[in-house]
Amino acid sequence: MQEALKVEQLSKSYGNLLVLDSLNLCVRQNTVFGLLGANGAGKTTAIECILGTKKADRGSISVLGRDPHKDRRNLFQEVGVQFQEGDYQPEIKVSELCEETACLYKSPSDWKSLCKQFGIKDKVNRTVKSLSGGERQRLFIVLALIPDPKLVFLDELTTGLDAKARRDVWKILENLKSKGLTIFLTSHFMDEVEALCDEICILKNGRAVFCGTATQAKELCSCEKFEDAYLAITGEEGIE
């Protein structure tokens, strides 16, 4: 199977602080990949370097076979992104934000049906700032899916959602995966990671301390629950 994303020897530091240390990642097409780690482990920096919004100090990055720096405009026709702290124009309405996003792409999805799928159809005439945290989070997932992407980046996708909404989002994502979408996500919910991800990579202080499947992680630590395995891996040094 072809790779949707390949990162080799990616390093990045802010001043003297090494945030990413020779990170290698490989995401196969049509899989769900989870990048995990505590706050400050380097997840968001890794995503930003991969997307080209931050410049890596070292390493090579290929997204859908393209260089995100040199080929930005072609690449983002096929890649959707939801940032952790997405922002919007102060007075903008949901419909306007969707329309404004859709108009940037050659063949966008129908944003109205996406809004319906994510349960915010009756909110399209409201201003974005008047939405609840969970509704806004769902809106930003909708925005990431508007390009009808081959690959989507979701940074902390279900933060702020209630249990029911989280399950709904999982279902939609699984459905999209069955249609060929590749998903790159970060999350702090281990049940979510276990339910969704085909492969995971756990970061600790900018280094990958585990790469593999959730089952492998559990076996490695002889834990029954994935969350225990995750804690064991991030808590101990030297497990590769």
Binding site: L51, T53, R73, V81, F83, T101, P147
Partner: protein, 246 residues
């Protein structure tokens, strides 16, 4: 084209919803016109055949240009950068040129609207007319507008955040608004001051608009055209080349 149209429609809606520019670029020029109208009426300017308002009409048209180019445009772009809205655009296929062009067009629309409201009011109440060629007047108006908006694009394109943009904008906006002849007539200022403020591209634009609107024999059209043309090319170039998403 579809992208440009949709972005323009949405951004214009947001700008109007915000009301700042409606007040500073449409209502304020009208207000200044009315005040000048009540003060001077149809009195003729000292030793000339045309009225004081005839002489000031060009300058009144630049208030809106000034408000848009030196306050509106740079502040909006800097705000979008600070709020990470530009960063969201960075991970889409849109180009910086497209975003700047959309904002640029919005302030062109404000300038056109301002002129279209000023002209009938000035004509109706104080019988202000363009004595010279309309084409020359519109040409000089356009040149003034494009050069001023390009300064705004440069400030917006490179300012780190809204605060920096706001400081730079104020430093540019208020002296130009007050001294270039946009609000206070250039003629009432002491000669020494006139000499100093001639370096503003805005002053050059207003003088050229005045000459063309009054139909005066244009003495040195090439100086203002060169000044404003250079400013436009330079500022637009810097805005596009040095554009920062974040």
């Amino acid at each position: 084209m579809r992208t440009f149209g949709t972005l323009l429609k949405n951004e214009l809606k947001l700008s109007i919803r915000n009301m700042n520019m409606v007040i500073f670029a449409i209502i304020m020029p009208l207000l200044v016109l009315v005040i000048l109208g009540f003060l001077y009426g149809t009195k003729s300017a000292a030793g000339t055949a045309y009225t004081f308002l005839d002489q000031s009409f060009g300058a009144l048209c630049t208030i809106s240009i000034c408000a848009g180019g030196l306050m509106g445009l740079p502040l909006v772009v800097a705000e979008y950068r600070e709020r990470k809205i530009l960063k969201r655009f960075q991970v889409t296929p849109v180009s910086p040129v497209m975003l700047l062009a959309v904002e640029f067009t919005i302030y062109v629309i404000y300038a056109v609207l301002s002129m279209m409201t000023l002209l009938p009011v000035a004509k109706l109440f104080w019988n202000v007319t363009i004595h010279g060629s309309w084409l020359a007047f519109l040409g000089s108006w356009m040149l003034t507008m494009v050069s001023t908006l390009s300064i705004g694009m440069m400030v917006g394109g490179i300012a780190k955040n809204e605060k920096t943009a706001s400081v730079i904008a104020c430093v540019l906006y208020f002296p130009m608004l007050i001294f270039s002849g946009a609000t206070l007539p250039f003629e009432v200022m002491p000669e020494m001051m006139q000499k100093i403020i001639r370096v503003f591209p805005m002053t050059q634009g207003i003088q050229l608009m005045k000459e063309t609107s009054l139909g005066l024999p244009a003495g040195s059209v090439w100086l203002p055209i060169t000044v404003m043309g250079t400013v436009t090319v330079l500022c637009t170039g810097i805005a596009v080349i040095c554009f920062k998403w974040e």
